[in-house]
Amino acid sequence: MEYFIQQLVNGITLGSIYGLIAIGYTMVYGIIGMINFAHGDIFMIGAFVALISFIIFGLTGVALPVILLLVLLIAMLFTACYGWTVEKLAYKPLRGSFRLAPLISALGMSIVLQNYVQVAQGARVKPMQPLISGGLEFFKNSEFVVTVSYLQIFIVVLTVILMGIFTYLITKTDLGRAQRACEQDRTMTALLGINVDRTISITFIIGSSLASVAGMMFVLYYGVIDFYIGFLAGIKAFTAAVLGGIGSLPGAMLGGLLIGLIETFWAGYVSLEYKDVAAFSVLIVVLIFFPTGFLGKPDIEKV
């Protein structure tokens, strides 16, 4: 039982990270109907920017909460630039091209970003000393002590706050309204005087910023990153987006949590070696049996 609770806590933490990345996939899919294959690498760049900022601020000796806030903002800002540029260079010229064109372009972009970071930052893994240590312990009298570290609390709380801000942005502001309108009908939205290109760019900026937060959490949580982390994390987050129903924002978060839980429980109870297989199998099974996911709308193709 205690072991189960421990896995649950770990799973929720991991799920928060996946959920934040999944939002980027699902938003882009909702608005332009493409799988942004390079999104996982945007997350990786976010993690690198966060790591670099942590090292720089670590030398200055500023208080920890200030560092966290600054790194968060810096990572979001710089990573958003990447998301914006990638959209402008690789996806925007392809609107109206054949269906697989943006996917191939995104694949190319993903290869470029990975190898670019490998060249710029080196291929070796980058370790970082833990910044937030300690935690709360439960069930001290039993055999297995459940530990909820402050870091896990920080990650979950930050995710909840960001989700709150994000939901407000999408449901209550003009920007969110424009975005939802673009999802429904881009031509009509343009006719009503909304700048569609700008809205799409902002979608990419928001998606990349959330991915960069996930990147920062990844650096803090695992303490080690390399240029290749975006691939696996990206696939898992995409699975999360599909599981929750692609195009649905609450679905992305839900799917993220589920994938996080499935992965930790699989690693905890079934086998550690095959934990990545679990995520891929879930993806295949979900796509075959419920392609609309939990909260998605059915995709009807019109002639």
Binding site: S105, G108, Q118, Q121
Partner: protein, 422 residues
């Protein structure tokens, strides 16, 4: 050009510079390196300024005389010229290329290194042709093609090391296994829409690799399989000193022993395998199933309404593509004599997809040109391995943006309603 425009484009270029600074500043400018314990930062501002400067200059030039447009027309003129030439003289070109390929091992400048590169290029041509059936003809983006390559290689290696059967028995078996895996995967997933299919095949490729790494009892895990038997020349092994009472290739033909014999044999082997793939593709394109593939690629709904069963039709393409992948895999295994999961990563799939996409989906000549270009030329700059992958990815993006049908666009229908109108 008016003054206002110039001011505008200067502003625009400076904005580009700011963005470029934001992009390159942290990632390129602040390189992390571990020294002892922990990470330290080595600034590299020089490179950043060069990159930012290049971005500003490039943007300004593009704005100033819309350089992109003229360059682009030149580029598209060149490629359309190229594709019309290759189309008109397809027969002559093909015969010349095959003749060249046949005499290549005996040309005076050909040495061991050239042969190795040529074998590698031919392997990729074969893989590209195999994948072209799936991507180019049937229009299914398969990002996990390397899985079938791996299945072919491992089934060849396992059968050959366990039962000691000869290459010529194992090769078709490996192809059958790979095709079987293709059907196994394809049957459930081929109903999915194009982009989902791409991701699922990618996932499948990774599953195969993870299983190969972890299934110690059979695959020997990350250590791979060693001692895979080399192929023999119709029963004559390429050994310096054959066993008692056994003839070897060089003793049988009274030749001086040379390791080149085996290399040349391997070269012809892959050349023949690749040509079989090509011949098969060209023939099957003209059969009903091949036409159904191309029709499905163009419009799935129309096909359904005409009574073509999309799942079964796609399944045949998938299985046949997988089979050729399996053949290539067993060739790879016998050539290397050693295989490990390392050789079957996602990047390998991406390279094969890049070859097909850059060559022009559906174009057999395009695959050859793209393989020679991507594998051959980059092989010479092996030290710049990482830059080579950046160039690969960048080329994929550029092709999609400027010439989405590939360098040699060949999506002409193989049959027209009112004859071939020119």
């Amino acid at each position: 050009m008016e003054k206002k425009d110039i001011i505008q484009s200067v502003k625009d270029s400076l904005f580009t510079g700011v963005i470029a600074l934001a992009l390159f500043g942290p990632i390129v400018g602040l390189r992390t390196a571990s020294k002892g314990e922990g990470l330290f930062i080595t600034p590299q501002w020089g490179i950043v300024f060069i990159l930012v400067g290049l971005c500003i200059l490039g943007r300004f030039l593009i704005n100033l005389n819309s350089a992109r447009k003229t360059e682009f027309t030149f580029f598209s003129k060149f490629t359309s010229k190229l594709s019309s030439v290759t189309e008109e003289k397809a027969k002559h070109l093909a015969i010349t290329a095959i003749l060249f390929a046949v005499v290549f091992p005996f040309l005076p400048f050909t040495d061991r290194y050239f042969m190795d590169v040529a074998i590698m290029i031919l392997t990729y041509i074969m893989l590209g042709w195999g994948l072209n059936i799936v991507v180019g003809l049937a229009g299914l983006l398969d990002l996990g093609y390397v899985a079938f390559y791996a299945v072919g290689a491992y089934s060849y290696a396992l059968i050959a090391t366990t039962f000691g059967w000869s290459f010529w028995i194992c090769l078709p078996l490996a192809g059958v296994f790979a095709a079987f895996f293709g059907i196994l995967l394809g049957f459930p997933v081929l109903r999915l829409r194009g982009d989902y299919l791409a991701i699922v095949t990618l996932g499948f490729g990774e599953i195969i690799r993870i299983v190969l790494i972890n299934w110690y009892e059979v695959t020997n895990g990350p250590d791979g399989i060693t001692g895979i038997p080399r192929p023999s020349f119709f029963g004559l092994p390429f050994k310096r000193s054959p066993d008692e009472g056994e003839a070897s290739f060089h003793t049988f033909f009274n030749l001086e022993y040379s390791t080149m014999h085996r290399i040349i044999f391997l070269y012809y082997l892959i050349l023949i395998l690749a040509l079989i793939t090509n011949y098969f593709t060209l023939k099957i394109r003209k059969l009903p199933v091949g036409r159904a593939w191309e029709a499905l690629r163009e419009d799935e709904i129309a096909c359904k309404s005409l009574g073509v069963n999309p799942t079964n039709t796609k399944l045949t393409a998938f299985a046949i593509g997988a089979m050729f992948g399996g053949f290539a895999g067993s060739f790879f295994a016998t050539r290397q004599a050693f295989i490990s999961p390392e050789s079957f990563t996602f990047i390998e799939s991406a390279i094969i997809v890049a070859i097909v996409v850059l060559g022009g989906m559906g174009s057999q000549t395009g695959v050859v040109l793209a393989s020679i270009f991507l594998i051959g030329i980059t092989e010479m700059f092996r030290d710049l391995e990482q830059y080579r992958m950046i160039a690969f990815g960048g080329a994929m993006v550029l092709i999609m943006v400027f010439k989405p049908k590939g360098i040699l666009a060949n999506r002409k229908p193989t049959i027209l309603m009112h004859g071939d109108k020119k």
